[in-house]
Symmetry: C2
Subunit: 212 residues, 2 copies
DNA sequence: CCGAAAACTGTACCATCGGTCAAGTTATGG
DNA sequence: CCATAACTTGACCGATGGTACAGTTTTCGG
């Protein structure tokens, strides 16, 4: 990494931590540059204003998240050909990955942005909107593949079930923070997994007929 | 209401809206007093500093939330003696109440506080911690009552299922905000309801034996 | 109707913050 | 080796945030 992008990356990392801990409005450029060991002019060389910092942080966060999802659910696909099993494995891997975070999940940047929407412009909102919709699509299509082989045991629209995962994760992060218990996020993902299991696993009588 | 408490209440209402829209750190006392039509000194007469405002807002928010839960799930208890049906009715009522909010849910104050934890002291955190634990207990005991009559169809700890409701609600609020679609929150509560149904409804063969 | 407390107002103050500007310095790659 | 990227120095500005304190109006019990 070139010298410039390294500093830029450091700023983004420091800013992200601060924003997740205190909110965007309460995070001052001043404290970020102090932690990064640069001057104010140095900061404004990389980002023309605070809004540009917000945008860059968001883009970085989304890319990292995409990478993680690709990784975990890609790995799950390698471990099972069955769409239901693959998704259940992916959820388990996701739960484990969340459990392995040393100090718990640092927070969802999109959630903080949503709760400070008035501070951001349409462009930033468009960025996280497409990201959330992409994640919803990803899980919805995983469920659609399951739906092709297994009859759902309740009449519910699958896009809502797909969206539920992101909701459970964001809610789990909040409750983990609220109760200061990192395990909650993992448990909530596993609870969602339990729902998927119940929704698609055939009743026992049929299940026994089902081949491996 | 006396003159003083009326002004105090107005400040809290205005501040809550602003905090839910922009975050606590980004909400200035100046704008609150401008909207409330009082002076800065008037504000500091009611709250000795911004932290006291935060605390009062939180206490107010929690009390209102308790009231809503008591109302909806109390009404559900009147509508059915069966613990499962009562809970399912309560969830439906909750979903409807969320759908009836004119501009969508304004946001969960506890979620915004969690995402700005560094701005608040231990006392404030203790307040919302006990509130969240109380809500979790409420749902857990509702599930325990169901558990006494219906065998759960998956081995999952009920306290996690109970906590899931708050997670789904908070996550649903965020996704509603993110995608600017108020219906998502309602749909997510109904998705959680679908999970409860699947978790406790006996398989069809037994269900047909069940009386109304 | 009076006096005391409650509920404010007026004004002044200072640190901080976001942002700008101009000019200079250092490092790096082609 | 030189052009450009990646900064530093330092000064400045207007706005805001929170604090302090003295003064004024309103309310209400006796």
């Amino acid at each position: 990494m070139a010298r410039g992008s390294e500093t830029r990356e450091r700023i983004l990392e420091i800013a992200e931590q601060a924003v997740l801990a205190k909110g965007f409005g309460a995070t001052s450029i001043e404290e970020v540059i102090a932690a990064a060991g640069i001057t104010k002019s140095g900061f404004f060389y990389h980002f023309k204003d605070k809004n540009e910092l917000a945008k860059a942080m968001l883009v970085r966060y989304i890319a990292e998240n995409d990478r993680i999802f690709d990784d975990l659910f890609g790995r799950a696909d390698e471990l099972s050909d069955d769409p239901l099993q693959s998704f259940l494995i992916g959820l388990k891997l996701l739960a484990e990955a969340m459990a392995d975070l040393p100090n718990g999940h640092p927070g969802c940047l999109i959630a903080t942005y949503c709760y400070q929407e008035r501070l951001f412009d349409r462009e930033i909102r468009a960025i996280y909107q497409t990201a959330v919709m992409r994640w919803n699509d990803r899980f919805r299509s995983a469920l659609a593949r399951i739906d092709a082989s297994y009859a759902p045991r309740d009449a519910i629209e699958l896009d809502r079930v797909g969206a539920m995962l992101s909701c459970v994760v964001d809610g789990g992060i909040i409750m983990s923070k609220a109760l200061d218990d990192p395990r909650i996020l993992e448990q909530q993902i596993m609870a969602f997994r339990s729902y998927i299991k119940l929704l698609f696993t055939p009743p026992l009588v049929a299940y026994e007929r089902e081949p491996a």
